[in-house]
Symmetry: D2
Subunit: 354 residues, 4 copies
C-alpha cells in the first residue's frame, strides 16, 4: 500500500456507484481506477453522472475480472447476488484488493434469516461496515473488527438509520428491544435508478407512499442482527418505510418501551455516552431535532432522543443521507479503517443546506 | 331552512378558511355569505386566495357579530381560543346559525386533558364532527349525534388520520390500544399560513423534519378520546409527526399489538366491516397501499391494514388530504348531517392525481 | 342526444386518460362508458388510478371497435399515430360518436409542418379544440367552429399556455409576432407515464431540466398556426420547455416586441378585451401574477401582461394545469360545445391550492 | 499573509453567510474567524445552521468593527446598503482585510443605473468578482483585475447564470445583444431567509411562480454591464425569473438573435473557445443539456448552446447553484485570486446528485 491507492467501482452507472465516485474524488489518497458497468458499458460516464465533472469523459468499461483486477480497492455496486462470484473470480486471478460490497449479499450472519427474506442461498457474511456499531457490553465497537479487513459488507441505508437511532438505549439497557417500532420517511434515490412507474416524478411529487408494509422489508433481519450485537436479547421490530418527495435522505423515527427503572436522565446519558467522540454520529442539543437537509451530502448521522412518559416509550430520531452515511460514506469510512488510514479521511460532516 | 343556505366563513384568509370556501363553492345548496378576516380585512379575497376564481373580487370584511349574523351556517377558522366568545356573541345577537368550529376549542370532553395540552381554561365540548367515528359497541356512529346539531367541533387533521386508521381494530377488539405507535408524514399546509422561518420553502424542500416529538403534540388527547369512544379501555399512544415536502396530505402509519386470539383474517374482517358502505372511508384491496396523492383535494380517506406476525403488531395506514377530510371536508360532511342534507352533498371522493 | 350521454375513454391507463375520467365523473350529464387500454387491459382501473374512487373496480377492456362502439362520445388518449385508423374503423362500424383526440394527429392543418416535426404522413386536420382561440379579425372565436363538430383535435398543453398568453396582443396588433420567445416551466405529468430514467423522481426532485431546446419541440408549429389564426402574418418563435419538480402545471413566460405605436395602455386594453367574459381565461388585476398552484385541477387559465419599456418587449404569462385546461378540460369544454351543452358544464374554475 | 488566513463572516445567520461558512470549512488554507449577526447575535450557530457541524457550537457575535477587525478576510453578507459604512469603519480602525461584499452595493459602475433600480445613493463600484467575465476584445478576463484586489463585489446569482450563458456569443460577435430574452427558473434559497408568506413551503410546493416581471428586477443593469464588458454595444434585455420548488439552483434560458453571418459552427466555436480551460465553467458535449441537480453544492456552471435556425435565435442555457457559483463560491474563487492562492483552492466542481 502506497500513500495513494487506486479504487475501481463496478456498477458505476447506478446511484450508489455514482456516489462512491463522488466521495473517492474528494478523498486525498484515492485515485479513481476503472469505472465499470453492464448495460451501459461503452458510454461516457458523464452520460450517467454529469455531476461528476472531473470524470465525465471517462468511458464505462465492462464489469469483469480484467477491468477490476490490479486495483487496491474494488467497490461492488451490483444487484444482489452478483458479488460472491465476482469476488471469488478476483481472488482466483490473484487480486489482493480490499473488496467493499454495497449490496446485501454478505451482511447477514444468519443463513436462515437470509433465506427467509431474500429467498436464495446465503453467500456467507463479511465483516460488517458500520464502525459505530456497539458490540455487546458496549466496550468495543465494530471499527475494531474493520481494521485490516479485506472484505467488507456495507450496511443497508435504512438499517444504519434505525441502528444509530436506537442502539445506545439497547446497549445501556434503558429501552426494551422486544417491541421496537420504526417508521422511516425515505427519499427516492434509495430505490435505485431502474425506471419503474411508481418511481416516476409525476407519481412521487406531492405524494407520500408507504411500501413493504407489514414486516416484509429485507432490512428487518439486519436491524435485528445489529440490535442483538449491541446487547439485545430477543428483538421484535415493526418496520415501515414511507417514500417522500426528496431525492436523498432518511428520517427514522424509532420508538421502544422505556425499560423498567430508566428515566429521561439515564436515557440521555446513554445516548450522550454512546456518541461522545464519534466523528460522524452526533447527538443534538436537547430540544433540537434533526432533519435530512442538515446532512445532505455529508457522512453525518444526527440523532435526538426523548422520553414520552405518557406513552411509556423512548422516541429516537436519526437523519442520514441514504447515499452517504447510508451507503458510500459508510463504505469510505470502513475502507479507511481497513487500509489503516484515518477513519475520517476524505469524508465531510458538513451538509449542503438549505 | 330553505333549499339553499348561506354560509359565512370567519378567518377566511388562512388555509382552512380558503379550503372551506373552495368546498362551499362546489356545494349544490350553499351560497357563500360573508368572508371575514382580522388583519387582512379590506383586501380582495383574490389577494389571499387567487385560486378561488369566482370569489376573487369579494372583499374581506372584519370578523364581527355584524358580519356573521344573519347566515344559516357560520364557519370559524380562527386561532385557538377565539370561538367561544364569538359564538356566545352570535347567540346573544339572536343568531340561530349552525356553527362549525375548525379550531380545537371544543373538541375535548375532558377539561383536564385540555388544560394539560393547551394550557388554558376549557371552553366545553361540542358535538364532534367525525361521522365515521365508531361509538362503543360498534353499533352506532358519531353521525347519529351530528344530525340536527347546532354546534360542531371539527376534528384535528392528524387525529382523523390516526383514528380512521386504527378504530376498526379497537372496536373489534383485535388490537391492543394500550401501546399504539403512530408516525405521520405530513404536508406543510397543516402548519398554517403564518410565516415562520422553519416553514419556508427553502427549508422544507429536500428535507424531512420531525416536530413535537416525545408526546407533546396537542392532537394526542383527542386521538385517545376517539379510541376510547370506539371501545378502548386504557389507551397509550406514541405520536410523532414528520414534515415532508408536500403542500397537502397526511400519511399515518399506525401500529398496535395484535390482540390475543386475533389473526390476519379477523383483522381484515374488522376493517372491512367497519368501512363497508362508508362513503368517504375506503379499505383498499389487499396488497394495495394508499398514498396521499390519491386523495388530494378529495374527502376520501384510504385505509389499508396488515398483520406483521413476526413483530406481533397490526400496521394500519391511512391517507387523507389534511385540508379536506382532515378539516374542511369533515366540516361540510358534518354540516350536511346537521342540516338534514345528504351526507355526501357537495363532496367529491375523487383525488386530483397525479 | 338524450339528457345524458355515455363517454368511452380509450387509453385510460395514462395520465391524460385518467384525467378525462376524473372530469367525466364530475360532469352532470356524462355516464362513463368503456374504459380501455392496450397493455393494461384486464386490470382493475384502480390499479392504475386509485384516485378515481368511484371507478376503481371497473376493469380495463382492450381498446377495440367493439369496446368503443355504441357510445355517444369516444375520447382517444392514444400514442401519436393511432387515432386515424381507429376513428375510420369506428365510422365503418356505424358509430356516430363524437370523437375527441387528445393526441397530436389532427391538430395541424399544414401537412408540411406536420411532416417536418413529426416525420410521418399527415392524417388530416380536425376542428381544433380551443374555444377561446381568436380568429382573424377578432370578431369570432374557435368556439363557433366547434358547435356541432363530430371530430375534435384537442390542443397540446404547452400550445394552450403560449397561445392564451400572447394571442390578445397578436389579434390587436400591439405586439410583433415576428420574434416571439417562449420559455415554459412545466411539470412532469406532461411527459406521460412511460417509465424513462430522466423522468424518475430521484432525477427530478431538486432539479430544473430543459429539453427539446433549439427549436425541435413538436408544439412549435401548432403555436405558430394559432398565432396566425389570431391574425399574425409571419410568426417566428423560440420555444424552450424546462422541467420543474411539480406533478402538474405549466407556467409560460412569453415575450414579443412591442409593436410600433403600442403602449402599456393599449396592451392592457387588448388583453382585457380579449378575455372579458371568457369563462375559463382570466386576466388578473394589475400587479398580480399567476402561479400554477392557483389553477391545479381547474380548467382555468390565469393570464397577466406587462410592458417592459426598457427592453421594448411585452411580457405575457399564463398558468394552466397541463392535464386540465391543457388537455382533458379543453376536451370537455369542446365536447360541451359539440354536444350543444353549456360550455362550462362539469368544469370548475377553482384550483386546489395550496 | 501566512499560509493560512482567517476569515470572518458578517451576517452569518442567513443563507449566503451560511454557505460562505460551508465553503470556508472546506478551504485548505482558511481558518473561520468571527461569525457575526444582528438579530441572532448570542445564539449558537447551530441554531441557524445545524448542517455546519464543526461550527455548531460557535456563538454568533454582534456584527461590529470590534468583532470583524483583526481578520485577513471579512465577508459581508448583509442587507443592501450596509457594507459601505462598515467597510469604512474597518478601514478607519486600521483593518487591512480583504473585504468581500456578497450584497449589491458595489457591483454597478454606473451611478444612474444604481439609482434607477435601487432608489438610493450609489456607494461606488468595487472590483467585480466574476473571474470568467470576458473583457472587451476577449483577450483578457476579469480574473486579472481581481489579483491583489482588496475589495470585491460578488455578483448577483441570476447575473452570473445569464452572463455565463451568453457572453461567449457577445464577445465573438455571433449574437446580437440588442434583443436578449432571459427567463430563469430559480430556487427558493435565492429569496433569503426572511419569513414572507409567498415564500412558505405550502405556497411553493407544487407551484411555479413568476416575480419581478416586466423589467423591474435589480439584476438587469448588472447583466447589461457585464455584456457590455464582454463587447456589446447597446444591450436590451428582457428578464423574467420564475420561482420553482427547489431549494437551490438557477436554470437560465437565454436567447439572442443570431448575428448576420454567424451559424451553428461559429456559435459552437465561440462557446467552446470561451470556456476552454476554465476550471468552473464547462460547455457540455453537443446534445447534452445542463440541469441544476448536476451542480448542487458545486462551484460549477454548466453551459450548452444551440442555434434555432427557424427562430433566428441562439439559445444558451446555464445551470448553477445560486448559493455556490452564484454567491459564496464566486466569493471564494475571487478571494483566492486576491490572496494569490490557486484560483480553485477549496472549491469543488462535483455536484451532489441525484
Amino acid at each position: 500500500m502506497q500513500v495513494t491507492f487506486s479504487a475501481a467501482v463496478a456498477g458505476a452507472s447506478g446511484y450508489a456507484g455514482g456516489e462512491m465516485l463522488r466521495l473517492l474524488l474528494a478523498h486525498p489518497d484515492a485515485v479513481v481506477g476503472a469505472v465499470t458497468a453492464h448495460g451501459n458499458a461503452g458510454q461516457r460516464l458523464g452520460t450517467q453522472h454529469a455531476h461528476l465533472v472531473p470524470l465525465a469523459d471517462r468511458v464505462l468499461e465492462p464489469t469483469s475480472v480484467e477491468s477490476l483486477a490490479g486495483h487496491d480497492v474494488v467497490v461492488l455496486a451490483l444487484p444482489h447476488g452478483a458479488s460472491g462470484e465476482l469476488t471469488a473470480a478476483l481472488e482466483a486471478a490473484g487480486s489482493e484488493a480490499l473488496v467493499l460490497d454495497l449490496g446485501a449479499d454478505h451482511r447477514l450472519t444468519d443463513a436462515a434469516a437470509w433465506e427467509a427474506f431474500y429467498g436464495s442461498a446465503h453467500a456467507g457474511a463479511w465483516p460488517y461496515g458500520m464502525p459505530e456499531l456497539i458490540l455487546t457490553g458496549g466496550t468495543t465497537r465494530q471499527r475494531d473488527v474493520l481494521r485490516g479487513a479485506r472484505q467488507i459488507a456495507v450496511p443497508g441505508c435504512n438499517v444504519t438509520a434505525v441502528t444509530l437511532a436506537l442502539q445506545p438505549g439497547v446497549a445501556a439497557g434503558v429501552v426494551d428491544p422486544g417491541d421496537v417500532v420504526a417508521v422511516l420517511a425515505v427519499g427516492y434515490s434509495g430505490a435505485g435508478k431502474a425506471a419503474k412507474p411508481h418511481l416516476l416524478a409525476a407519481e412521487g411529487l406531492g405524494s407520500l407512499a408507504p411500501y413493504a408494509v407489514g414486516g416484509t422489508h429485507r432490512h428487518i433481519p439486519e436491524i435485528e442482527q445489529n440490535l442483538r450485537a449491541a446487547g439485545a436479547g430477543q428483538v421484535r421490530l415493526s418496520f415501515t418505510p414511507v417514500l417522500a418527495p426528496v431525492a436523498r435522505g432518511i428520517l427514522a423515527t424509532v420508538t421502544a418501551p422505556l425499560a423498567p427503572g430508566a428515566d429521561a436522565g439515564s436515557v440521555r446519558a446513554a445516548w450522550a455516552q454512546a456518541y461522545d467522540g464519534e466523528p460522524f454520529v452526533h447527538l443534538l442539543p436537547e430540544g433540537s431535532w434533526p432533519t435530512t437537509a442538515m446532512v445532505t451530502g455529508a457522512n453525518t448521522a444526527l440523532v435526538q432522543v426523548a422520553v414520552d412518559e405518557r406513552a411509556g416509550r423512548v422516541v429516537a430520531v436519526c437523519a442520514i443521507d441514504n447515499l452517504v452515511k447510508g451507503t458510500a460514506g459508510a463504505a469510505v469510512q470502513s475502507m479507511n479503517l481497513a487500509l489503516g488510514l484515518p477513519e475520517t479521511a476524505g469524508l465531510s460532516t458538513v451538509g449542503v443546506a438549505p
